[in-house]
Symmetry: C2
């Protein structure tokens, strides 16, 4: 089964919008075991849209078209598909009522031109999902199929998950259910992780079962994705549970969370479950640690605040740092202890380092001292990041939060 993607929109060609839809759909197709050999982008132009749709249908079994379904005169995907199918357009009154009720639900009156969105090519089936006002359509073309979905990402995603992907899998004869789970890790390189899991991957190759894939995600760490296929959702979950347990037992505490969890939310949850409050003392990160922690709704249950001591004398006056270099073990250790007292918190993290681009106090850019303070005891780590200013700051945030996570795990265990 082969499926191509065609994105429609002059604004995409002009670079006013970056097309993130095609990448997302590409990933979903791969997860569903459906091949995708080409993405195409064309403008809102009848002739060029027609050519792109035809060519894609010649090569593939199915085509997903995003965009061009709005209510304005520019939005001509429906008309072009009707011509391609060799049929006329007809008002779908049930669909018109559903669109009207979308407006009524928001207390707004529907502009007359929105009714255009209820005109569908004869033979096409509107999708059940209608997150916005643009209906998705399943359009048979000979023994092939073309799906039209809106360009608005969250509307598109709902229709892909609800209608398009299940329909594609049915057509591909895939009667089984596919599910995946992502283990999020921090602290290992991709090759290191691959080495740790080499035996397990070999075992899965020989015995069959779920597959493992590594996805590098920059400052979000490395993800290990387990993908399983089985006749029922319950069986898929059981396979995922079993494989998650195996992988976790092999790679251990470098797994910090599952699926949507990030380092900040994991640390905050652990603090709340142990009834602890957190303070932060920042230097090179300038507020980024606190900012990322407070991105998480409900962070006020544990996060008390942060002292951003960017100037050296602020570190000395507010955070008990003594004379001498501020990028040092002594300084960062003093910062971690002092900020617990100043902000009246149970635990803390502190960082002091050289973000670059220039050296500081004779230390190279990328040199970072980190400290954690738990139950009054301070531990420190020095890292030299080989990155630019932006990435040095970002990696510092995740690294120091990971150090705190490991100490909190140990505290809970012991």
């Amino acid at each position: 089964m082969q499926c191509e993607i065609v994105a429609v929109g002059t604004e995409l060609l002009l670079g006013q919008i970056v097309d993130t839809n095609s990448a997302w759909i590409g990933e979903q197709l791969a997860l569903s075991g459906i091949d995708c050999h080409r993405h195409t982008t064309v403008g809102d132009n009848r002739e060029r849209m027609m050519a792109a749709f035809r060519e894609a249908l010649d090569r593939a079994d199915a085509v997903i078209v995003t965009g061009g379904l709005g209510p304005t005169q520019d939005d001509i995907t429906r008309e072009v598909v009707a011509e391609l199918m060799g049929v006329t357009m007809e008002r779908d009154h049930g669909l018109a009522d559903r669109i009207k009720s979308r407006f009524a639900g928001r207390g707004r009156k529907m502009p007359a031109n929105n009714l255009r969105q209820a005109d569908v090519p004869v033979g096409a089936t509107p999708m059940l999902e209608l997150p916005g006002t643009a209906p998705g359509l399943v359009c048979p073309v000979g023994d092939k199929v073309l799906y039209t979905v809106p360009g608005v990402p969250w509307e598109m995603k709902e229709m892909l998950k609800g209608t398009v992907l299940p329909d594609l899998r049915r057509r591909a004869g895939t009667v089984s259910v596919i599910g995946s789970r992502t283990l999020r890790t921090w602290g290992q390189s991709e090759s290191g992780l691959a080495e740790m899991l080499a035996d397990e991957i070999d075992r899965l190759d020989v015995e069959g079962g779920p597959t493992l894939a590594f996805l590098a995600s920059g400052i979000e760490g490395l993800k290990v994705r387990i993908t399983a296929k089985a006749p029922t959702p319950g069986e898929v979950e059981a396979i995922l549970d079993d494989e998650e347990a195996r992988v976790s037992s092999i790679i251990g505490p470098i797994v910090f969370g599952l699926d949507g969890a990030n380092m900040e939310s994991v640390v905050l949850d652990e603090l709340v479950s142990q009834g602890l409050t957190l303070a932060v003392a920042e230097s090179l990160t300038g507020g980024l640690i606190g900012s990322r922690l407070t991105d998480v709704p409900g962070s006020s249950r544990a996060f008390r605040g942060s002292v951003v001591a960017y100037a050296g004398d602020v570190k000395r006056e507010l955070l008990d740092v003594t004379d001498g270099p501020v990028v040092s073990e002594e300084a960062v250790s003093a910062m971690a202890s002092a900020v617990c007292r100043v902000l009246d918190a149970d635990v803390s993290v502190a960082v002091s380092g050289v973000a670059g681009p220039d050296p500081q106090d004779g230390q190279e850019p990328g040199t970072v001292w980190m400290a954690t303070c738990v139950d009054g005891e301070t531990e420190t780590v020095k890292v030299v990041f080989p990155f630019d200013r932006v990435r040095t700051r970002q990696f510092t945030v995740i690294s120091v939060l990971n150090l705190l996570r490991l100490r909190l795990l140990k505290r809970r265990g012991g």
Copy 2:
């Protein structure tokens, strides 16, 4: 003149990377007055790459191919283009030396397979730019042309600017030079800005001259882009200078900077030029104000630090906030004054508000009090943002920095 873009890379089809190159190139082509009717993405597959290149060349006068120029066996763009041109590959020894010296310059030994990158189709010309180790090539195909550039965005951009765009303009017979300048604004809606500039746009329509375009950029504000065309770079600059002065005189101080400047860098520059230091007191932003300021290299010349008082009692203990609601004019005013004293700074900004999703102290999410303190005098503003948590925090940062910018401008003027 028509030019298509073909992005090569299986990782793009699988959604492991979002293709931002095509959008950027599309924008540059539009700015150069060159039409682009299609973007295509294909995997690292000889047959499918060949088909995509041929089809693009059939439709257009020129094709820009990104990706597939690396040193590994997967990277076959060079070979496919040679086949398309009907020529063999030949080692370019000058190019080989340049690639070797790229490695030597970084103190590294060149792996042998990197020499593959010096094999070029006979008749193709390597570009002068070599920011990485993958050379870009100008490849004549009949009376048309195909450019190959690396997929790494900064390498691609250098070659586009240095070779591809000038070459395309020459082929298009565009003897004129095109230039643009962006005025960055904060504090007006797109329709408000369009209304303010309606007469000027009408005047330009009638009299000819540069064009004006509005670009919405979310938390980066609205951009007004002036694009001018003239026989020489000097004349383009003169037109841009003239139009910038006209637009600035119409829309006034909502223009905060030009081109690459952002709100943080503009505020920091103004502080440095007036010899002032800055302190920040943050609540709902959790450190985001300090984080964005310290994203700017050299921010330590003015930024002293920040007190992130997320918990209410931290505001009271460290920042002189008295009993009563912390999302209030009194509280934010006290925070701004106190943080100047605590961090020994000349000026300050302070924010206290409800990021959401839940109300706080009976105040709705989006309610934000902001204060600026300059020369010991505090001014406050209340805003109710209609946004979610993330955008409320982001808009708070830019809004409060803009308030400080306007006060600093007034201070300099008077």
